[in-house]
């Protein structure tokens, strides 16, 4: 085997099918993708098992490279030895288990010297701590604060922190088994759907992970977003604009940027008792941009109707969007 993977020879039948499958995947992932394209792809897949098998195989390989996002900032194709903050956990299920435990402990292990704060779905509240720090809670969020106010547990949801720095008494947040230590700071922590994100807006924070995951703690710089999902942890660099979008909820706004309808729907569903359901996969793949009030489902469904010509039906507490 040579060190360089050679381009596959196009001669045989299987190779021709594979080339077609690659072209579908490339168009779907890197070029504009319309509903008509999806229909054409579905037809091609339906036409032969050979097509499906070739497509599944390449798609699986491409999806594995999703986690290459962790290498962001390491330099394009330079052998990527630069700034690599990647840790693979030994215990894959650990994260989910710890997250679940965190919620349970809020109700069963509450110690007397802790105060519990929570918001309902669609809620938004700011807590003023005795040390002058402020914690702003987004929708469906539960936090517990220790009596001394320098220790906080984010059991569920999302919160924005403006911490009064005290070198002698660092402020710590425990979330899904991870510990975030403030070193003079504004930061955002989101613990939703088995995915933990710590975004640093200003100052510095230190992130410690559950046992055995990392040899040393992670220091975040402004613009860094640490993402822990299942058994991986990686750091992304976000632009100011992206960070502003991530904190737009503080003004009651959600921002979509090339977001699939599926993701947009789940974002709305965080804020509203009436849930949006996307009925078919093709519709779920459509992408949108824009700003919405997080409680204004009508604005969103109106857009779905007028721009995408989708059907919107209301059933009890659900809004079903389909082709």
């Amino acid at each position: 085997m040579s060190d360089v993977a050679e381009y596959p020879a196009p001669a045989s039948g299987a190779m021709a099918t594979e080339a077609e499958a690659a072209s579908w995947l490339r168009r779907r992932n890197f070029w504009d993708w319309s509903q008509a394209d999806q229909v054409a792809l579905d037809a091609w897949l339906e036409a032969a098992l050979e097509h499906r098998v070739a497509y599944w195989r390449l798609k699986a390989a491409l999806e594995r490279t999703e986690r290459l996002g962790a290498l962001r900032g390491a330099g394009a194709g330079q052998g990527a030895r630069g700034r690599l903050w990647i840790v693979l956990a030994r215990v894959a299920a650990g994260f989910a288990a710890v997250a679940a435990l965190g919620v349970a402990s809020a109700f069963y292990l509450l110690q007397p010297e802790q105060t519990i704060y929570a918001t309902a779905v669609g809620g938004h509240k700011t807590i003023h701590l005795s040390d002058g720090s402020e914690v702003e809670l987004n929708t469906a969020t539960v936090v517990r604060v220790a009596a001394g106010a320098r220790e906080l547990w984010l059991d569920k949801g999302e919160a924005y922190f403006r911490i009064k720095h005290d070198a002698a008494r660092p402020f710590t947040v425990m979330v899904a088994g991870h510990r975030v230590t403030d070193l003079g700071t504004k930061f955002l922590i989101r613990n939703v759907s088995d995915r933990l994100e710590v975004a640093l807006i200003e100052g510095r924070v230190q992130l410690d992970t559950p046992d055995g995951r990392m040899r040393e703690p992670l220091l975040l710089a402004p613009g860094d977003v640490a993402v822990a999902r299942r058994n991986i942890l990686y750091v992304e660099k976000k632009s100011d604009k992206a960070l502003a979008s991530a904190t737009a909820w503080r003004h009651g706004i959600v921002v979509f940027n090339n977001t699939t309808l599926a993701d947009a729907a789940s974002e709305f569903n965080r804020y509203n008792a009436r849930k949006i359901v996307i009925a078919d996969p093709a519709t779920a793949q459509l992408t949108i941009d824009g700003k919405f009030r997080s409680n204004d489902i009508e604005d969103f469904t109106h857009l779905a109707q007028t721009v995408f010509a989708l059907q919107v039906r209301t059933q009890r507490n659900q809004i079903v969007i389909s082709r």
């Binding site: 390989a61 693979l88 991986i232």
Partner: protein
Amino acid sequence: MKSYCDPSNGGTLAEGMTETSEPTRENAGLGQDAGMTASEAELWFVREVLPLESALMQFLQHNWRNQSDIADLRQEVYVRVCEAAQTQIPDSAKAFVFRTARNLLVDRVRREHVVPIEAVSDLDALDVAIDMPGPDRSAIARDELRRLQAALDRLPPRCREAFVLGRIEGLAGREIATRMGISEAAVSMHIDNGIRALANILYGDPADLRRKP
């Protein structure tokens, strides 16, 4: 504890595969009723069959003289395996894949009289290949990022650049073309080739990557 065995996540799913027989048993029920839906079939294929690809390729390369047939043979094995799985999920994907591969080679030998019978070297010995030690799945999962990076390093430079811009920087095809100063058609070619080469590296030929940290 199979919660992390998620098809959308190639690396961790490998970890769920430490016991080849276990997920198969779990899936056995699927085949008993009307068969699998397309997404179940895809899930089964990616989870059970694809991880066997490097062993399958070794098997085919070992037992078939004409190496230019290998890609077709592999594809044919996959199609036959998936066809059969539509009605009944096999108990052991591994045994089934290799049985299918052997039958295919035998069929080919019989059908194409031009191929001398020695093309399939010692059919009886083929079963041994089925018990070939599989790759250490947990090690693979731990090394997933390193493996992906090593795989990426093996792509031809321009192809890698296009792929990195698209996949890591998250650029769209048009932006990649601008950034690299090449046409969109050239970007398409590089990305298509990149996807295909990565599949070969990640599934077909992982042995040498595995040993080099």
